[in-house]
Subunit: 376 residues, 2 copies
């Protein structure tokens, strides 16, 4: 265990120094000796600020499923490694939302909480994303987001009281368990103050009736249940955000049959014949939904990528990485957008394989299950 840890970290501080990110003068050899000594004494080591920032950025750069990586150097770090108490974790999550939203001028941000160490676990955020909508089982149907029915149930058993009346877009509470000695307390719930959650009401540039559907979405996507691994040190709570790409909301969250499943309703209002797949009513409705999302975010002044522009930017990223002599790991099936795949340049090429080494965001199976409401 120790050996693997040691072996893994051996390169990382070096990489940091080589890239010139380290502010201090220590040479790779000095730093390596220091880290070895620290590991010998404590079983782990503490990243310098520069190492942590660089590690988080490289973890983004290595995210094979992310199309938004051109700006990986711009990731803003909130270093909260001293934070383990659940109250403080929750407060810092709210702080993250606040600082990253900036009234719509979204900034790519990561907040890193205390790591797991040989003697003490770090805190955990159970939510898949800091901001998500509740799903309520009502008879045979679901009110809200069906993906979070389990999570909503779990939050309720922890004492969360949904708003009354329940709605389709009720922001879920944070579910946090503390690190260190707080871990034994188990998960706690915390509401995010509504004024901190920027949301956009959806309307369509051509169809007046669209606004009457009463659809909305939150401005900020903050993935909060992936583990950040850097050089053998593992941060189980490290929520990060970029901004949305319109297709994620319009062609997946609002369109998927297992999510808000709005295609038939939109197609109906558009007057399309939904009795036959061959009228392409799904295809047409998904495009209009995505257009409505893009338009509404643009009008509201909230940062949002579109899949055409973002694909072009991603190819620029690939070029730059190649020029730097680096591989760029890519998961084709995640990079290609869920509509109009063939219309984007990212469709028409092959890529380097996803990687499993170096700084990475990883999904724990347990954390994944918790994000779906598993109470264990």
């Amino acid at each position: 265990e120790f050996l693997r840890l040691f072996h893994t970290e051996a390169e990382e501080p070096g990489a940091t120094a080589v890239k010139g990110v380290a502010a201090r003068a220590a040479s790779f050899e000095e730093r390596l000796a220091e880290v070895r000594d620290e590991i010998a004494r404590t079983g782990t080591y503490v990243h310098t600020s520069a190492e942590l920032t660089f590690g988080a950025r490289v973890a983004w750069r290595q995210s094979a499923r992310c199309i938004g990586r051109l700006y990986w150097r711009s990731l803003h770090l909130r270093d909260r490694r001293h934070v383990v108490a659940p109250d403080e974790v929750a407060a810092e999550c709210v702080g993250h939302v606040d600082e990253a939203t900036r009234r719509g001028r979204i900034r790519s941000t990561i907040t890193v909480f205390a790591p797991d160490t040989p003697t003490s676990p770090g805190p955990r955020v159970w939510n898949e994303q800091l901001i998500r909508y509740a799903g309520y089982r009502t008879g045979g149907r679901v009110l809200g987001d069906p993906r979070y029915v389990g999570f909503t149930d779990h939050a309720r058993t922890l004492g969360w009281v949904p708003p009354s009346p329940m709605g389709r877009f009720d922001v879920l509470p944070l579910v946090v368990s503390g690190g260190g000695s707080f871990a034994a307390q188990g998960p706690q719930i915390y509401e995010i103050p509504p004024e901190k959650v920027l949301e956009v009401d959806l309307e369509h540039p051509d169809h007046r009736w669209f606004a009457d559907l009463g659809l909305r979405w939150h401005a900020l996507p903050v993935i909060s249940n992936m583990r950040l691994d850097i050089g053998g040190v593992s941060y189980p709570a490290a929520p990060f955000n970029g901004w949305y790409m319109a297709t994620e909301i319009g062609a997946r969250n609002l369109a998927d049959a297992e999510r808000y499943d709005m295609l038939a309703e939109v197609a109906g209002k558009m007057g399309l014949d939904t009795s036959n797949d061959r009228t392409m009513w799904r295809d047409r409705a998904a495009v209009e939904l995505t257009l409505a999302v893009q338009h509404s975010f643009d009008v509201a002044g909230v940062s949002m990528a579109d899949h055409h522009g973002e694909s072009a930017r991603f190819l620029r990223h690939l070029e730059r990485e190649e020029q730097s002599g680096r591989k760029c790991p890519v998961d084709w099936s995640w990079i290609v957008p869920p509509i109009s795949g063939g219309l984007t340049p990212v469709f028409h090429r092959y890529y380097d394989e996803p990687t499993d080494t170096g700084p990475m965001f990883r999904m724990d199976p347990v954390q994944a299950a918790r994000g779906q409401g598993c109470p264990m």
Copy 2:
């Protein structure tokens, strides 16, 4: 070499017998002994009819990029293994087009020509598909299909005379080289009689102006430059066809920037703002193009799959293969359609890896280059 050949074929006749496809009573052991003996004498062996039919069907079943595999058992075999002369190959290709088209009730068909043997090469078809449209360089632009500019040039150096005036949809001639002693003659050209080539004029169910674009497409997609490998015997010319899926034409052949590049023109006629990607004009135009293709083929009574139905059928195929205890190799990036990927159920799952063993359609690098016009 011989050993590998021997090793490879060892299973195939067995598989045939096991599946009960072989009409004759020979046991696996008898057949195996026979094949060994034949290989010892001649350096190769001759498939029985049943083996060839079964092998071709399994090659389809194993095509990781093909979404149409549910009906793999229905593939119709035209056994032309005695044919090596280029005139006859060309005539049989025309016969294939005729028999498979059936005025629109398309039948999945493969014509197998003479194999490569240790003493004598089989014939080759140079075209990527039996029916494709010429591309002519005219100043800076291309008239017709830009993909076939090189192939068109090559056909002209072989003596092909394009129709006058040249058009956007001129069917290319067959370019065929014979097998055996004919191989030395090099490639020959043959026109396909126009009355054998069924084509569909494209119109849109809602937009009258669409027909004025003068678009059309051929009914029958016959891939003709892939090699069919079965049990160590290799057939370099084995053109096969299914029917089209609308997205192949509407969202790729007519839409791709390197093909007919029609999106901007269609969007213009639709009155969309093409100055900004965020109006989703590409997305809308691609859907309407695909719809026009689907509608026109349906009206003309020509077999055509749609991506929604075909995705569902493909999942049925996966289930059946699983029930049969077989793996089903899948290349996600080819199975997911070029528009509305996320709206089809094939998008939302993982698959078995593509395979490289067993009966297979393979692309030779040389044949691939020839399909693009390389004269070597």
